[in-house]
Amino acid sequence: MSQLPLRAQLASALGRTAATLSRATGRGDGSVIGGRVGLMLEPDLLRKLATDRKLALVSATNGKTTTTRLIASALMELGEVATNAFGANMPAGHVSALSGAKHAPFAVLEVDEKYLPEVLDTTNAGIVSLMNLSRDQMDRAAEIWLLAQKWRRALAGKPAHVIANCDDPLVTWGASTAARVTWVSGGQRWREDSWCCPECGGPLDRGGSREMGQQGSVHWACRECTFHRPEPDWVLDGEDVIDPHGRRWRLDLQLPGEANRSNAAIALATVDAFGLDPARALPRLRTVTSVAGRYTTVERDGRALRLLLAKNPAGWLEAFEVSDPRLPIILSVNAQGPDGRDTSWLWDVDYRILRGRPVYVTGERRLDLALRLDVAGIPFQLCDSFDQAVAALPLGRIDVIANYTAFQQIRTEFGRAV
């Protein structure tokens, strides 16, 4: 890539120093503070850092960090890749990621859904990958219909090639103003936010006849206007991905669950847009075992705890799918800023799937979760701390599901497990 102007170089270097200091003083991954310092010194830094690279932006309500990691891992087959591996997904984090790998010809950035229009405008990214939209912490997040509307406006009239999950009606609507879209049938597990047509508000008819198989079950069309699911170019079919040439690829990921297979399908379609064939990309996707502590197993006093992150109702549904129904489970819920201060979303999660399992409840908002489980008729044990929950459990394997800051607290106890 071309040389940065002097001011941008200086800003970028100072940002890296701040990041190193932040890490050295144990305040965090350093990616946000570093980028903030850089942006303060040179507001146009992100634009300059993005110039002359082949850049993909990745956005969704869930799976952003994992999909970004999968894409970045695969692209390393082609050369050096700049990426925000720590999930710092706003412009400061992007600046930090790009200045940390100045000469990388490729970049893949996880982008917060709200910031996508701004980051797309600034970076002029050539590729944008969009997976899903569902209700999230609404005391800070935008309303999702409005969010999809903003994506439409941001993508209209730009040359970006969009890779989008056509099984999510709201994502389809958000992506469909783009000049070029590759549609991926990645499935949709959480459907409570897509019963109505984003175009006209009419009812969406979901599913199809069983004879149509899996493809039938993901089909959707508006009953009142012409908006309907586009024909996919890539299809996730159980354990396999079928590419646009009709070739079938067995995924064999180490990351568990259908949501990650869906993330991998998007990743394969995205790297294909970089010119990387699934034959070369797949072995690299299979090397990813955990992402920023997600899916990691940590040990304590004879117990093997697998850490699952779930930030919103769709995320909990995915975590339950991955969780082993034979194991005891610890649930930990906080309501700090990044979690959303409102715990209402607990009532959108169907906890009845936990019936019959030993359930341990902890976290700063454990009483909110306790009442929720009580109303669902799920027996549980309330624990004042994570340690108390672990100590109460028999030796052996245990699953842990926690929301954002609760997850980070647990991860910190294990030395920021990766």
């Binding site: 109505c196 009812p203 009953r223 209402s344 009532w347 959108d348 306790a370 009442l371 929720r372 109303v375």
Partner: protein, 237 residues
């Protein structure tokens, strides 16, 4: 009430932004705890609203779904008939505004409501987001209201309704009051599962539908209320 208590959840496909299902689940649990068979009916916006329900619930939503929901309910007429027949209702946030004569649309334009409550709403200057605590109208004999609000609405109460409560913390209607009550209808800005934090309000709705209720074990409800009220009110609690 006929053979079972019928709870009608209106338009979960449009107006169920955040945990609104909780109100239906809490009513169901507390009715069953009194030995009352209960059924929750989910009524999507493409379906007619049944007129024979006992308690109607309507929740929060984004601007566009709110306008769509109001249009469909006006055309459908089922809810209006049910209320005229004497059914009870809890209307939350966007659903609360829809029950008035008018509310503010996406661009602040006035959108006609159902006129089931003598209120009118418009868009305020800033979003009210956070915990809310309020003293309930003494005539209703309910403990302090607690919950979370997240809205931009300002609601003026007409002479046909009484304020549900006076705010201690939070914005509510915007004039120091929060929510309203008229006949067997309660409106509130406490979004999502307001009844989970206010089981006495749930019991009030149930008693309107099925008569006097014996007490039930409220342990988890009480512990959550105590924790939230002391977090929000501190020493005032």
């Amino acid at each position: 009430m006929q053979s079972e208590l019928s709870i009608v959840w209106i338009y979960p496909d449009l107006l169920s932004t955040y945990g609104d299902q909780g109100n239906a689940l809490v009513l169901e649990q507390r009715a069953r705890a009194r030995g009352v068979p209960t059924r929750i009916h989910h009524v999507r916006s493409s379906d007619p609203v049944p007129q024979q329900g006992d308690i109607y619930l309507i929740g929060g939503g984004e601007d566009r779904p709110q306008i769509l929901g109001a249009e469909r309910l006006r055309k459908d007429g089922g809810l209006q008939s049910a209320i005229a027949r004497g059914a009870a209702m809890l209307a939350v946030c966007a659903g609360y505004q829809i029950m008035g004569s008018v509310f503010g649309g996406e661009e602040g334009q006035p959108v006609p409501g159902l006129e089931l409550l003598d209120i009118s709403s418009s868009r305020g200057e800033r979003r009210a987001v956070g915990e809310l605590a309020a003293e309930v109208d003494p005539a209703l004999r309910l403990p302090t209201l607690t919950g979370f609000e997240n809205h931009m609405g300002v609601t003026r109460l007409g002479p046909g309704v009484r304020p549900l409560s006076r705010t201690i913390v939070g914005t509510g209607n915007g004039d120091g009051t929060e929510g309203c009550v008229a006949g067997k209808i309660i409106g509130t800005y406490l979004h999502g599962p307001a009844l989970a934090r206010n089981p006495a309000l749930a019991d009030l709705l149930l008693s309107w539908a099925i008569g006097p209720l014996p007490p039930v074990n409220d342990e988890w409800y009480q512990r959550l209320r105590d924790e939230r009220l002391s977090a929000v009110l501190g020493d005032q609690a």
